[in-house]
């Protein structure tokens, strides 16, 4: 496989200008003759679909939810970064670029990240023009806050619902185009395969989730904005429906899957309360600005927190990282929590939790100030746990939150399959081995509003895809394969529920490919996962039929794909014999337990290539070079 990142020549600050000039244009009168299939309606998918339709393309957009407004981008709480420097505190495109490359632990492509920082400022303007109700100062200007340990205030926000408001902005732009007849929307429709004809991505196979009807859709290009694959762990902060099926089907049709082992764990989530737990709820990490994290000094100390005197508490982040204290990056905070719980000092049921205590903040600031800053989060915590965080410390524990890995794309956001574009969390492009807070919304909208609409035009003008019929052989073959797979799932008539398999594969990953990984653990997981997969295909129970609403069948297809993806994640984690960002291999640490990169051997993107059932996938490497951000060991001491 030849991986050409197609990075434009010239100095980094001119690359995007250079590329936009080089790109061929589609004649405005011809745009409506091109059909573009956009799968997913989150920030990346909805913004892409709306922008492409505004340009004049014929767009078909697909989502599995009942409305495009439900996509999981809606749940993002914190905010969106932009290098506006409105606060006059020294921010710049260069600084946002630098922070993002460093935060990603030097495993992202510099040129992409620089473009992201450049575009960040346009996104804010676009969203304001749409009527997104960002927080304002009393003088009427846009408010900012510092977020996720950044030393400048560059985060724009709409209360704790920034993702919701940005998504509604994109959704409204999309609905406008639907109303104008420029976008055909297919809600409650799931993509089950990618169709490739003459080496180009030319269509998809979908299932209507109400009638069960399979259909093929043909287009001149396919855009996947289908989100991340964090739900492979079963318990995550993702929505229950979030899945990897679209990108996994594309992988099995030849698209390279990059860095699958880069999975981010968020340090401040509400701990698991029982076996029935269906998902984990994130508490905004802004809580770490005023809350102090601690566990008892003694193992197995079961006294209530109020009866543990100060000298018997271990404020372990403040102790280990005096400079950053409770504000260390997500990966560092998560690993530290795991360590103290592994030592038997965790709190709450099962010992899987640490305290996040606001007692000192309430004493220092007064309860009204704390209520003003965090009132809605405290309320959410109390609603879920039944405990009042004004009286007793919160209990928190890390949870899977975001996946930096995804389908490999070049600078134009096209995968190695011509005509297959991948945007947002579904691609691997900008966050390296660790994503910084408030960067996901930025990337989704940058891809959809401002990158893809240009690059897809260049592809159409250059590749000139020939006319194709949705009734031709590649389409009917793909549909037949999808049908066979659904029939197979329905025909197993086994004993175990789909969820029980999903939970089990999630547990394997969490134990052996979670916050800390070892070669031994990964090899164990690589043995267990194929066994579980085999059992799934022998013993899963999927009731009901194909031609009706069948939520078990939907889930079964997604879990079947997770059972394959889980193996690739472990394979990648085993291959990457270094620690970087969220990928901590216990064998590779500094003497004081910090992640130790190996730039000489691992400064590359690992792009995996499907080689067929039962075959080992092939590893292709895209070397990474760092010309603008000096390679350095991260230190938060």
């Amino acid at each position: 496989m030849q991986l050409d990142a197609k990075v434009p020549s010239g100095p980094i600050e001119k690359k995007w200008d250079q590329r936009r000039f080089e790109m061929k244009l589609v004649n405005p009168a011809n745009k409506r003759k091109h059909t573009i299939l956009v799968v997913g309606s989150g920030l990346a998918g909805a913004s892409a679909a709306a922008s492409l339709a505004e340009l004049g393309y014929h767009v078909k957009c697909f989502c599995f939810q009942d409305s495009p407004r439900r996509a999981h981008s809606i749940a993002a709480q914190g905010g969106i970064n932009a290098a506006k420097n409105y606060q006059n505190d020294g921010d710049s495109v260069m600084r946002l670029f630098y922070d993002t490359v460093k935060g990603g632990d030097f495993r992202s492509r510099e040129s992409n990240v620089y473009r992201l920082a450049q575009i960040s400022v346009e996104i804010i303007d676009q969203c304001v023009a749409q009527g997104v109700p960002f927080a304002r100062e009393y003088g009427g200007l846009l408010a900012n806050r510092s977020f996720g340990g950044a030393q400048v205030s560059r985060t724009f926000y709409a209360r704790g619902q920034t993702g919701q408001q940005l998504l509604l902005g994109a959704y409204q732009a999309l609905e406008r185009q639907i109303g104008l007849g420029k976008v055909e929307m297919f809600p409650r429709t799931e993509m089950l395969d990618l169709v490739i004809a003459d080496g180009q991505a030319r269509g998809i196979v979908t299932r209507n989730l109400i009638t069960g009807k399979l259909e093929t859709q043909a287009g001149d290009a396919v855009v996947l904005g289908t989100g991340g694959y964090g739900n492979v762990f079963y318990l995550s902060t993702n929505a229950k429906g979030s899945n990897a099926t679209a990108i996994w089907r594309a992988y099995k049709r030849g698209a390279a899957f990059a860095n699958p082992c880069y999975t981010q764990i968020h340090p401040t989530c509400i701990p698991v309360s029982g076996e029935y737990q269906s998902k984990l709820t994130l508490m905004s990490e802004s809580l770490r600005n005023d809350g102090r994290i601690w566990v008892p000094l003694k193992k197995g100390d079961s006294r209530p927190p109020s009866q543990i005197p100060a000298e018997e508490r271990d404020y372990y982040l403040e102790r280990r990282y005096p400079a950053f204290g409770n504000l260390v990056p997500r990966d560092v905070a998560s690993r530290a929590a795991k360590q103290v719980c592994d030592e038997g000092r965790g709190v709450g049921p099962g010992g899987l939790g640490v305290y996040l205590d606001f007692k000192n903040a309430i004493e220092r600031l007064g309860e009204p100030v704390v209520r003003d800053r965090y009132g809605n989060l405290f309320e959410m915590y109390e609603r879920i746990t039944g405990e009042d965080p004004y009286q007793v410390p919160m209990r928190i524990f890390p949870a899977i939150h975001y996946t930096m890995g995804g389908l490999w794309v070049d600078y134009n956001l096209m995968s190695n399959v011509p005509g297959l574009f991948v945007v947002g969390e579904a691609n691997f492009s900008d966050h390296g081995a660790n994503r910084l807070g408030a960067s996901a919304l930025m990337q989704g909208l940058a891809d959809g509003y401002f990158v893809l609409p240009y690059t897809i035009g260049d592809y159409l003008a250059t590749a000139k895809p020939a006319k194709v019929e949705a009734a031709s052989a590649p389409f009917t073959d793909a549909e037949r394969e999808v049908k066979a797979r659904l029939d197979k799932l329905l025909g197993i008539n086994g004993k175990r529920t789909v969820d029980s398999f999903h939970k089990e594969v999630g547990r394997i990953l969490w134990e052996d490919c979670g916050m800390a990984r070892t070669a031994e653990g990964l090899k164990r997981a690589l043995q267990k996962i194929p066994e579980l997969r085999e059992q799934f295909w022998k013993d899963v129970a999927v009731l009901g039929g194909e031609g009706e609403v069948n939520q078990q069948l939907e889930k079964a297809g997604r879990v079947a794909d997770f059972l394959e993806l889980a193996e690739l994640i472990c394979l990648d984690a085993l291959d990457r014999a270094e620690s970087c960002g969220c990928h901590l291999r216990e064998e590779f640490q500094t003497p004081d337990g910090e992640a130790k990169r190996n730039d000489a051997d691992f400064s590359y993107v690992a792009a995996w290539e499907w080689k067929g059932p039962g075959e080992q996938p092939a590893l292709n490497k895209e070397p990474l070079s760092f010309e603008h951000v000096h390679l350095a060991q991260r230190s938060y001491k």
Partner: protein, 252 residues
Amino acid sequence: MKSFKLILNVWRQKSGNADGKFVRYEVPDVSEHMSFLEMLDVLNEALIGRGEQPVAFDHDCREGICGMCGFMINGDAHGPLPGTTVCQLHMRHFHDGQELWLEPWRARAFPVVRDLMVNRSAFDRVIAAGGFVSVNTGGVPDGNTLPIGKLDADRAMDAAACIGCGACVAMCPNSAAALFTGAKISHLGLLPQGQPERNTRAERMVTQMHAEGFGHCTSTGECEAVCPKHIKLEVIARMNADFLRAKLRSRD
């Protein structure tokens, strides 16, 4: 950890065209820490184990923001706790031996799809009729060229918090969608960006709302009381004012 028994009467309906009926189930081990949907997960796992069809219900984020979940519990949309979606309703608010009746949203504009699932695409069509600012991507002014007073920004945000779940319609004796439609008209109408299209927006959205088969608002206020995001009745007053003004000024 406390656990207890619940008796559920769940509306079962195979498809939009089929007849439906209540079916009685017992859930023996309900933990007080479960969410309502996790309790249904436990029921469904048991049903699958017995070879029976699980109960179909819509849900996605399970943190109260996507708006996908929602059904009636003993006649209350999203259940007895105010300001909460059913995914964020926890079982500690119920007691041992309690009998519950679960039904889908009942409204002409929201036809039943299966069991507790309904079709809410009418809401999307109301937004498509005018719930936006007509700006294309690119070519917009700097975000700070348009100062917006904090109070207006805050009130716009209050209205924009609507999650489109449909509880307001389900709870309204007239099945009106005035709170939903008014929330979007207010969000955009309170901001300077929304002014150029303020009249046409109100006119088109209200017309579409009626075309979808939603009823008229008679100000009973059930919608406000049940809204998980505390959208206030005043958004309906704004909608009516904008609609009236649009009609007075309309020359077509």
